[in-house]
Amino acid sequence: MTLPMDVEGPAAPPRSNGDLVFAEPWESRAFSMAVALCETGVFTWREFQEALIARIARQHDTSSDWCYYEHWLGALEDVLARQGAAAADDVRARATELAQRPAGHDHDHR
């Protein structure tokens, strides 16, 4: 249910369309990267969309484990790997490196 509140002007509250758009910050980063890369022509929207459809189709489980942005991220990785923009090995190596940061590394980050 969306309340009929001001949508423009100084009294307008921040809009989230009635629910949280992103459950976690990484989801918004993954989302924006795909949009940005389409805008700059690194891949087409069509390519990304097909990768996303393929990812979703591979999941037969429709339980509560469903996470849309997991698939989104997977699709992004697939397309980037295919394009040679970021190989799966590179991503894995960097993520592993990031995982080894000491606790509290990001206390003043963003």
């Binding site: 249910m1 969306t2 009929p4 509140m5 001001d6 949508v7 423009e8 921040p14 809009r15 369309n17 009635g18 629910d19 758009v21 992103f22 976690e24 990484w26 918004s28 980063r29 993954a30 989302f31 924006s32 990267m33 949009v35 940005a36 890369l37 389409c38 805008e39 700059t40 929207w45 069509r46 969309q49 996303l52 459809i53 979703i56 189709a57 591979r58 489980d61 429709t62 469903w66 996470c67 849309y68 942005y69 997991e70 991220l73 997977g74 992004l76 990785e77 697939d78 980037l80 790997a81 923009a85 970021a86 799966a88 991503v91 894995r92 960097r94 993520a95 490196e97 990031l98 995982a99």
Partner: protein, 198 residues
Amino acid sequence: MTMSESGERIPASLRTEAVEQLLTERGLVDPKALDKIITTYETNVGPLNGAKVIAKAWTDPQYRRSLLEDGTAAIRELGYIGAQTEHVVVVENTATSHHVVVCTLCSCYPWQLLGLPPSWYKDPAYRARIVREPRKVLSEMGLELADDVEITVHDSSSEVRWLVLPERPAGTEKLSEEQLVPLITREAMVGVAKIRAR
């Protein structure tokens, strides 16, 4: 859940950070540009653009006709066209005919018009069930339709995005186009709700 070549065992948050770092180093993305995209979609886009299209159609019979005839051109005329709204077909809900939109394959959605898709739109249960038992699903979502109302379910695709032109509610005859805009909800433009006068 299958573990794929891209290392799904590593948490998504770390993989996302890794991808962003690599792409930034390679000059393919700019973190500031990403912030801007997020802000745009979270705060500025919303269903507002779609609502403006609908309010105009309600108050301008000629615009309404062009919108139903060629949605893409009519929406482009208002400047709300982009990568995601290349081909939009507008369908009109009436007292006897109801349209509802789904994307059974993934979650194609006219972002530029309606903002980011809500969680229920992306839910596998909605995507599967709305096609099989639309009346029941709509009723569960709070929209009771009489048995004689014909329901049409439109499946979005990368080629066609559907936008529902909801019925203008009784009691809003005196409202201006600007006053109508805040009444128009995203749910109504997907076809899972009706619009109520305040």
